[in-house]
């Protein structure tokens, strides 16, 4: 079990204690990533994408967050049961993250080189106590890492402050930092959203290439369906803290089954033109008084009485294609 998947989330719940009550932001999601796989996690604002990422990275503040149940296995070890010290050891070396905004992810008062030095030294702390040879080795490693992300003149970049670099260059530096310690899993939270399309295309291209060469698994979290389509092999569609549908990317984009996935895909404007659909009626529910049953049912055109009463289970349609919707649950029941 532990060997096949690099990351496995089982029935994770994350709640937040707030003034008005308990906000059930993640309400039972399961997700897995195989070794070397590129997986996408798509959903709109407030669907719980970032909370999922923070849980996996052990970055949630507990409290206010509560994790009533669920398991997050990274390489066979449960992250949620780790001590802070153990967590520190896996961050950067086994699991790495690239944040959304390259402008804010780097510290403006240190040079790129200084920040990079810390990242590498931290991972190798146990093996050395400093010294010139050690510094030299780290420096070489850093320059190699910067070369890998196709940054011209890595020496100069290492000596410059983040504010002297453009957005695209900062994003490249962040990718280099995330990959320098050879993690097993890379999480990219909205990669390139803050950048222009031409730069975004360069960055995504670079990222997928590096990940493939190094055999790293990657989880791409974004609301941009085009990015998901172009970079991932399998995708999860999230809504209201739950996984609504998961399938191989090509299958899902060709043949979305869940009414939410369908609404989402038809809202995307196409490069080939044509009218876009009317969007999805209603707004995202709040998490304190979340709708009963299927969380999407108040906005769903196909809602049935049962949708408001009971939560639909994930039903398998074909291999690797699962949908949480009663439209398909019934079919499945008859077939079995």
């Amino acid at each position: 079990m532990g060997n096949k998947y690099i990351l496995e989330i089982r029935d994770l719940h994350v709640h937040f204690r707030v003034y008005e009550g308990i906000s059930r932001v993640i309400d039972g999601i399961s997700l897995y990533i195989a070794k070397g796989e590129r997986v996408g996690l798509a959903g709109e604002t407030g669907c719980g994408k970032t909370v999922t990422m923070k849980t996996v990275m052990g970055m949630l503040k507990i409290p206010p967050a509560i994790i009533p149940c669920g398991e997050v296995y990274l390489n066979g070890r449960d992250i949620l049961k780790m001590s802070p010290k153990e967590l520190l050891q896996i961050k950067g070396t086994e699991i790495s993250v690239i944040f959304q905004d390259p402008m804010n992810a780097l510290n403006p008062v240190f040079t790129v080189g200084e920040q990079f030095y810390d990242v590498i030294r931290f991972a190798q702390q146990r093996f050395s106590n400093g010294g010139n040879l050690f510094r030299e080795r780290i420096r070489n490693k850093m320059i190699a890492a910067l070369k890998e992300v196709i940054l011209p003149d890595p020496e100069r970049i290492a000596n410059s402050y983040p504010l002297e670099l453009s957005g695209g260059m900062r994003q490249r530096v962040l990718i280099a930092m995330a990959l320098v310690n050879n993690p097993k899993l890379l999480i990219a939270d909205e990669p390139g959203t803050a950048l222009d399309v031409t730069i975004q295309a360069q960055i995504l291209n670079l990222m997928t290439k590096l990940v493939e060469v190094k055999g790293i698994s990657i989880l791409i979290i974004t609301h941009n369906l085009g990015v998901i389509k172009e970079t991932t092999e399998r995708v999860y569609i999230m809504y209201g803290g739950k996984v609504m549908e998961t399938a191989p990317t090509n299958v899902l984009f060709r043949n979305p089954k869940h009414p939410y996935s369908q609404g989402l895909l038809s809202s995307v404007p196409r490069l080939t033109g044509g009218e876009i659909a009317e969007g999805i009626p209603g707004t995202v529910p709040d998490y304190i008084t979340a709708p009963s049953g299927c969380r999407f049912h108040p906005r769903c055109n196909y809602a049935m009485p049962i949708c408001a009463q009971k939560e639909p289970p994930l039903t398998m349609l074909e291999s690797d294609h699962y949908v949480a919707c009663y439209l398909y649950a019934k079919q499945g029941g008859q077939n079995e």
Binding site: A201, Q202, E275
Partner: protein, 334 residues
Amino acid sequence: MNNPLLTVENLVKYFPIRVGFFQRRIGKVRAVDGVSFDIKNCEIFGLIGESGSGKSTVGKTLVRIYKPTGGAVWFKGRDVTKSTKENLRFFKKEVQMVFQDPKSSLNPRRSIKSTLEDPLIVHRIAQNGRDRERIIGNLLQMVELSPNYMYKYPSALSGGQRQRVAIARALAVKPSFIVLDEPTSALDVSVQAKIIHLLQGLQREFHLSYLFISHDLSLVRTIARRTAVMYLGRIYEIAPTEKLFTSPLHPYTRTLISAVPVISKEEQEAKPMKQSRGGEIPSPVNPPNGCAFHPRCSLADKICSQQLPEIVEVIRGHFVRCHHVSFNMPSVKQ
């Protein structure tokens, strides 16, 4: 089509760079460097480009948030860059703007009613309170919100609802032309779809013209009739939107379109080949000589770095600024 509603002639906007105690000028940012286009009656005109290309500055200069450094803007036969009092009053009633982020474009301490009341008072549209309330109710209905929303504050509304209020504010003075500066880029796709439908409906109902500024090419493709592509303060290509996307002539336009992440096979196949060697947009403080795209362009040769190409009409309605335009012309290749 009849006479253009709005004609922009060689619009220029420079921002000075000042340093030190005496605010000495040490240079200028050439945000907009000679932009010309026209917008016809009831037309949605798209303006695309990367960040830093000056597209928002064009929008803001058009509605006179910025004073242009040079050039002329003709609106309904008047040159509105000459800021006589009468001109400005006329212009500000006819031209409105909707901003990118509805969170910061609405005052959080004022109710929706108080926000929407201002234009009615300033332009003397309704003098007494009851009239104003009725008009505001109608405005909110126009943008598909319930009239009860007028007593709420922006913090009680979602992003999509706030943007609807911002649109209602623009409509309050019954303008004929609205500048939409990335009106949906802060919203989710399903909300964006609804706002776009609303904008299209309003355009048809009130015969409005839009300048639709966006970096989302697919969105411009669905909404605009004609589109201009900006790069470093200049327009490099203008064409009917359909033409621009099916047979782009400028290497930059091609590069831009080919970089858009898409979700279907048809779109992937419709993309042109990119004609760029990578790289990023240069600084508008110190733009490259000649054609501003030449450091990134794969067609560039000596002349490109020396001389700025003129913008020429190569096919009817299709204007391009490129020395090597014949390279991308399908008829020449055959």
